[in-house]
Amino acid sequence: MASALDIRGVRKCFGKGEHTVEVLKKIDIDVAPGEFLILVGPSGCGKSTLLNIIAGLEEPTEGAIHLGGRNVIGVPPAQRDIAMVFQSYALYPTMNVADNIGFALEMRKVPKAERQRRIQEVAAMLQITHLLDRRPSQLSGGQRQRVAMGRALAREPQLFLFDEPLSNLDAKLRVEMRAEIKRLHQASGITSVYVTHDQIEAMTLGSRIAVMKDGVLQQLGTPDDIYNRPANTYVATFIGSPTMNLVDTQVLEGGAVALAGIELDLPCPAATGAHATLGLRPEHIRLDGSAPWKGEVSVVEPTGADTYVVVSTVSGDVTVRVAPQVRVQPGERVGLAVEAAHASWFDARSGQRLAA
Amino acid sequence: GEVEVLHYWTSGGEAKSAAELRKMMQSKGHTWKDFAVAGGGGDNAMTVLKSRVVSGNPPSAAQIKGPAIQEWAAEGVLANLDAVAKAENWDASLPVVVANVMKYKGNYVAAPVNVHRVNWLWASPEVLKKAGVPAMPKTFDEFFAAADKIKAAGLIPVAHGGQNWQDFTTFESVVLGVGGAKFYQDALVKLDQKALNSDTMKKSLETFRKIKSYTDPAAPGRDWNLATAMVMQGKAGFQFMGDWAKGEFIAAGKVPGKDFLCAAAPGTANAFTFNVDSFAMYKLKDAGAQKAQADLAAAIMSPAFQEVFNLNKGSIPVRLGMKMDKFDDCAKLSSKDFVDTARTGGLVPSVAHGMAVSPAAEGAIKDAVSQFWNNDKISVADGMKNIAKAATTQ
């Protein structure tokens, strides 16, 4: 089957002559029909730019965009059959909710009765029927978000684009809306590309995740890949909160490594004698008095559901997740046991993942 | 046809006179579109005129006078009035001096309305009596003696207003009175540098400054007719002003000789500074409008209009040989002097009223004189230098 969206060798430069900035550097992404692709990366890495290029709001400097097999370079946004939900919602401030939702249909000359029907349908789905007469300024953040969503949904487009749609909401609402988006995607099955800063969103919504940095695609994979098999130290530390612990090691003979002098029984794919970086997520370390790797507790952060313990070791601070009922005190000496199966290994120099 | 008339006759006596002209035109079946623009002694009107001419849509007639008529004619925008002039025999009814002003390269391009005498001195008999001044002063010495008496009586000796042409009206009367007609011609009409730097000029400026000291401090910014009103109301003794001031007196129902006095400015009894108002006609395409223009020109020169108009305005008819019996004594005197001085050479054009030199030079000299009048810090020597320099403006 043809891919729903194919981004091929897209480059984008802003500015001219000396001041040229290359914001996207040869991006290749292929999205299958019905897929939910997540785009993550630090601020300024080019996520919005890529979305704009897909939508046709911006022209790429180089490369092609295929939508359902058709090259759309040069096709104006209105004819690409794409709907987009913006970070700031971009609701039309002077129209009421119904008109906001119906605007795109009106522009496409959908007859009035049909338009009304669709508006009602979408409003019912998003539970905003009672808000249809209000202006955006009379809505709460969550309600606005729903309207923005409704505006996109009314269209039943070929492709959805979401540019950090939840980042303005508070935590609680974010969780609710996240579930809603997931539900809607499952119901409609429309291919979607979704930009976010939030890792939980990325992990829970995406069928695949693309991690970008400085205009370069770092890794493209399933959430499980990204979380458990990060392609490099950048991806490793970018995804996961608290972040993955990275520890310098030297590979000893016979499936052991040395951490600043302490010897641990961990098989490492690097050559003996080489330096390698060991990546360990907080939940993959246990407090174990008998373990050889020792340290002193510096901070205890109970979050209710879990408690994070920061342990100072000779190889630096290490964060460990423990159950809330575990009681440790700052200053206490503890041992750290590692779940070897979940360890990630990276080249010490390049930061690239070492294949097992 | 329709005549659109651009003028700046907006004060009492003047407005009435303009209304007369309109009446006459209307009686001939023309429509009169009144385009009055007040302010700035005609400056605003000139702005409008210029922009109208540049836009190719000039008014039918505009109130212009003196050398400005020639300047406009030189631009080729004025209509030729020879046909009317011949039919109405203007050459015979106008003094040559005046006719020349109305002509450009031998063709009539403007119709004269009236003759104003500028070198008048007006006085309030009531004030003179109060101050014990026996008669109208004939010389500047007498004048200053009288002024001192009025001052002593606690009244304002000289009523004055605040535009530069008012300053200059006084100034040219002083020059004429101090230096005589010949000197006036040399200095102010021919702009001869020797005359402008002569002792006579120095004496004139000293006299001029002395007059200033008899005016009240609120003069700047005052309109001329308000200064006239001061004389009328017995607040001030004298005013140097042209005979349009009489229009104000008359309009207020005052009687010459009884309620106010007129005399030639000190030392100028044998001279006459004239100021002729006139309408220049602009080239128009519309035949109806051209006909109306011709009728307007004829109407302006008609004895009937000349009489009515000048009775209102305070001036005398420009047409020679008119009966003067309806006119008052001042006008009769004026009329007689007009004819006499034309013979003796005492008939000189008024600089203050744009009859003598080009607008550029006139403006520059007026500036210099006004500055001298208004700023006592400028010495007579400097004032003379400034005036002489201004006279070189082209």
Partner: protein, 288 residues
Amino acid sequence: MTAKPLSHHVARVLLMGVLLLGAAFFLAPLYVMVVTSLKDADELRNGNLLSLPGSLNVSAWREAWSSACTGADCSGLRPFFWHSVWMAIPAVLISTAWGALNGYVLSLWKFKGSETFFGLLLFGVFMPFQVVLLPMSQVLGWLGISSSIGGLILVHCLAGLPSTTLFFRNYYAAVPGELLNAARLDGAGFWQIFLRIILPMSTPIVMVTLIWQFTQIWNDFLFGVAFSGADSKPVTVGLNNLANTTSSVKAYNVDMAAALIAALPTVAVYVLAGRYFVRGLTAGAVKG
């Protein structure tokens, strides 16, 4: 409740005092004008500037409105007033609409060179108007609309163009680009975006521009005198003629009444809509 310290009250009283003093300074000329316009000739001569008229005497107003002479015409300000109305309303509307369109393009549809154009246009805000009188007359002559209300309207639209464009452009600079993108994706074109989305958001700046243009155009004298014909002279020209039309006794009461009549529409606009002006300025006409 908590008692405020004494010094607080003293400060408030002082504050109000200064504010009212300021108000008095700004109101004084208006007071003088109003009082004078209601006096008769006797009161003018005998009273002083501030004294109140003995009785409410509106004859000066009536005279100024319908019978005072300006030149040979004695129909008061009335015809001039209506000329101004017929000139100001279209000129204000056209220049505002035009400025809105320009501002819309200049901030939301930028293209290469549009900023430079804006800079060039902006310089027009600062151009002394006397400079344009003669060339403008010539152009109006070519267009065949000299000395007409139509010509005046055109001149005012052109003269106001830089400022109205500036107002709208600065206001629209704050419109998020995402809004425009959303509309484009929704399938709206250039005009639909302007009419359906941008224009309805522009009320504050439209108010500012309307008020500003109205005062500018209504109060203009220079263009009014230079480009009007005998039957299109605006009220400022009429007022000027009237105030400079003097007989021996200056009819200050009529002058003042005429001045007030000429000022009435603009003052009314400020009194009624002044708060939209300040609000609109706050909303983005002035960069702060």
